[in-house]
């Protein structure tokens, strides 16, 4: 496989990983706050805490990995996106910082504060909204080069219907992913009331997720017809995604095989996300950076690939250990240990 394909596959996979683990986290923040508002916090919050406490730092590293990796493999992206995105990037960063630190303060500092909970819930919606505009921007039209100067057209982004459909999709997806996972997790913990409550959330958000996906396609067809056409050519991928969606909703509806239903949710997003990414190529930033033009020199590229393989050898066993201890350990989930 050529270097640029290895690079982008690795990065895209990690971004996918981030989307799944971070969605669970972001959505959980919102559900915590929502159930506090509706006086149901005693039902779901314990489950949420139990899962999130050991893993929040790991979630953050997924994002760092993606950012450092893309600068490493495709240094031009640092130049274009970096120059253009000072303000939106800075604001997303501030939100992310507030969220991470306050989560740790509330959780390890051992103090339940409504204000912390509020911040945690709200940033859980705003951060994905802000981060998702990164993908919108990559479609082109919002970063332009005038001579040597790189400019960001924030106003155009704000007025673009496509951009809003992406934001909408991001928000409903995290709620849907998160609720589906937590339904499974609560069920595994034998916590019937929590599982029932989360099941309702999950079913509730499944409809808007599909609606938003359709809207995004519609938006894309107007904003970047070339990309839309490429996506259309591999429409089977998106059909697979939809079938996974049906399977997931059916299983949750029937309260059966909740583990499989979450796997179906992951597959649904995997198909959609990789299909989207594949049809996006070769552009990393339309029309300025392509996979080939942006690639780092091959010595560095292969060094990074080797480092990546060595890193995985270390990481995979550690991640398995983490999951074995906290995710698939029924005793831990049930709070017996």
């Amino acid at each position: 496989m050529p270097l640029e394909w290895i690079g982008i596959s690795v990065l895209w996979t990690f971004l996918y990983g981030y989307i799944i683990v971070a969605s669970i986290d972001f959505g959980a923040g919102f559900f915590s706050y929502y159930s506090y508002l509706t006086k149901k916090e005693h039902v779901v919050n314990k489950i949420i805490d139990r899962y999130l406490s050991p893993v929040w730092e790991v979630t953050n590293v997924f994002l760092i990995f993606f950012i450092v990796g893309i600068v490493g493999f495709f240094p031009d992206t640092a130049y274009y996106y970096g120059t253009a995105l000072l303000i939106p990037g800075g604001i997303a960063l501030i939100l992310l910082t507030i969220r991470g630190s306050f989560y740790a303060f509330a959780n390890y500092g051992g103090r339940d504060s409504k204000f912390f909970l509020f911040l945690y819930g709200m940033t859980g919606l705003f951060i994905p909204a802000a981060l998702s505009t990164g993908l919108t921007i990559s479609e082109g039209g919002f970063i332009v080069k005038n001579g040597e100067k790189i400019e960001f057209l924030g106003g155009a982004l704000f007025r673009s219907p496509y951009s809003w459909t992406v934001v909408f999709l991001a928000i409903v997806s995290i709620l849907y992913i998160s609720a589906s996972f937590l339904t499974y997790y609560a069920n595994k913990a034998g916590d019937v009331p929590a599982s029932e409550q989360l099941r309702k959330y999950s079913l509730f958000w499944s409809g808007p997720t599909i609606l938003a996906s359709v809207l995004v396609f519609w938006g894309l067809s107007h904003h970047n017809p070339i990309h839309f056409e490429k996506a259309w050519n591999i429409s089977w991928v998106f059909i697979c995604s939809f079938l996974c969606f049906l399977a997931a909703v059916y299983l949750i509806w029937k309260r059966k095989f909740l583990g499989f239903s979450f796997i179906a949710v992951m597959m649904q997003f995997a198909f959609a996300f990789f299909g989207y990414g594949y049809s996006h190529l070769p552009y990393l930033l339309y029309p300025y950076i392509t996979l080939q033009s942006g690639l780092t020199n091959s010595t560095m590229g292969w060094a990074l690939v080797l480092a990546f393989i060595a890193g995985l050898v270390l990481l995979i066993p550690s991640l398995v250990l983490l999951m074995w201890l906290f995710l698939f350990n029924a005793k831990y989930i049930r709070n017996e240990k």
Partner: protein, 444 residues
């Protein structure tokens, strides 16, 4: 021009804030692990309790370290896009490796925190602290190699058009500055973490806590920090010799050494007339600079006269360097005093004066670290990558950096305040004595 200035301010502020928490993140796991190990070996619950209490505070500081680190990671691309474009081509390997170190640390920190009572054999739990140590120390090592690269770039060539060619990622990582810098940074991070814990223990004894727990904590940290002050000073000396060879401008500016000559004297303290560059009120030690820089009383030390004036680093770094070195020797002194009084049968290492000295050492050591960084970074000016790229050419051309500066300043202020309040609340009303009693009561 404006965005260059504000980019500098924002970078400096973010780094200066991050390194406080990062250094704690690098060093404290060593002490936690040590205490837990001694606790298991000696079957002494005091040490186990020490490890638990330190861990509880540690997670709060780690959280701030993680989020501010994320800020730097992203801000580097936002504020220095041209720099990152070049860095991406030459030195992204250690940055990439660093993320694996973070991963490793993050995973095992989660495991360490939530498995205190899950293993029958306590050594298993202790073992999970080792990857945390490895992960955090390696992240310091990797990021320091990047900083070393900025000081002494290596592992690539520039062609006529200014494009990088002949790239050697390992060579870039193991550039001439790497050994001395990594050694000094890691050793000083351990040192200041130990002093932080020692300072807290000494503070509580001074406040009248009688329990043997605090004395044990103080003894443990004092022995280790004594050794670490020696290694830090040694590594500092190696760093100075490195500067003499590879970054003579930085050393000359730090020592106010204007003329290249043999047998150069060392200028201690003093003040500089900004117009005439005349040094006043300084202590001059004949030949000492030559000894420091070259191990030879008659060695030649390059002075500022050999460097074009527009490439001089700022001369105020002399004050930073002297203050830092003074603090370094103070740290060695106070830890040595404690140990001597402890060894000496009639001595009382817990004398209030000694304890006060230990308490002061904690903030002083953090000041020394900040001064060290400002010295090292400002001494690189006007370059962002020595000899390759100047700070002014590297900064973003975007407007509104000033706004970002103020937003982030507010953020760091908020973080600092809330973190302190949370830490205070965490331990207020929960002295070790009470916890130990509950703990021992539970066992018997």
């Amino acid at each position: 021009m404006d965005s260059v200035f504000w980019s500098r301010m924002l970078t400096e502020e973010t780094l200066a804030f991050h390194i406080i928490w990062a250094a704690i993140g690098v060093g404290v796991p060593i002490f936690i692990s040590l205490a837990e190990f001694i606790g298991i070996q000696k079957k002494d619950v005091h040490y186990t309790m020490m490890a638990k209490r330190w861990t509880r505070g540690f997670v709060i500081t780690v959280a701030v370290g993680v989020v501010t680190g994320t800020c730097i990671g992203v801000l580097l691309s936002l504020l220095w896009p041209t720099f990152m474009q070049l860095v991406g081509n030459v030195i992204s390997l250690p940055l990439f490796l660093e993320t694996f170190a973070f991963f490793f640390e993050a995973i095992f920190l989660g495991i360490y925190l939530y498995t205190w009572d899950r293993f029958k054999n306590p050594y298993w739990h202790w073992l999970t602290s080792i990857p945390v140590i490895i992960g955090s120390t390696l992240s310091a090592v990797f990021i320091t190699t990047v900083n070393s690269f900025m000081n002494t770039p290596a592992g690539f060539k520039l062609d006529a058009a200014g494009k990088v060619i002949d790239i050697d990622p390992i060579g870039a990582m193991l550039n001439p500055a790497t050994p001395s810098k990594v050694g000094h940074v890691v050793s000083s991070s351990y040192l200041i973490s130990g002093l932080l814990l020692a300072g807290l223990a000494a503070f509580f004894i001074l406040r009248g806590r009688q329990h043997i727990y605090y004395k044990k904590a103080l003894k443990l940290t004092m022995v280790t920090t004594f050794i670490l002050s020696i290694t830090t000073i040694l590594m500092g000396d190696i760093s100075a010799k490195f500067l003499a060879e590879h970054q003579p401008a930085k050393l000359a500016a730090a020592e106010w050494h204007f003329e290249t000559k043999e047998g150069a004297p060392l200028v201690l303290f003093g003040s500089l007339d900004p117009k005439t560059n005349e040094v006043k009120y300084a202590i001059e030690i004949p030949k000492a600079l030559s000894i420091l820089a070259t191990n030879n009383p008659n060695g030649t030390v390059i002075g500022l006269d050999s460097i074009p004036k527009n490439l001089w680093p700022p001369l105020y770094i002399h004050y930073l360097f002297d203050t830092k070195v003074s603090i370094g020797f103070y740290l060695l002194f106070i830890t040595a005093v404690f140990l001597i009084l402890w060894m000496w049968k009639k001595g009382n290492p817990f004398h209030p004066i000694v304890l006060c000295g230990v308490v002061i050492a904690a903030p002083l050591s953090f000041i020394a670290m900040e001064l060290g960084w400002v010295f090292a970074e400002a001494g690189r000016l006007p370059w962002i990558i020595t000899g390759i790229m100047k700070v002014g050419e590297a900064a973003t051309t975007a407007a509104n950096v000033k706004l970002m500066y103020f937003l982030f300043s507010g953020l760091y202020l908020l973080l600092a305040i809330v973190a302190c309040i949370v830490l205070y609340r965490l331990f207020k009303g929960k002295p070790a004595e009470a916890e130990l009693k509950a703990f021992e009561g539970g066992i018997s």
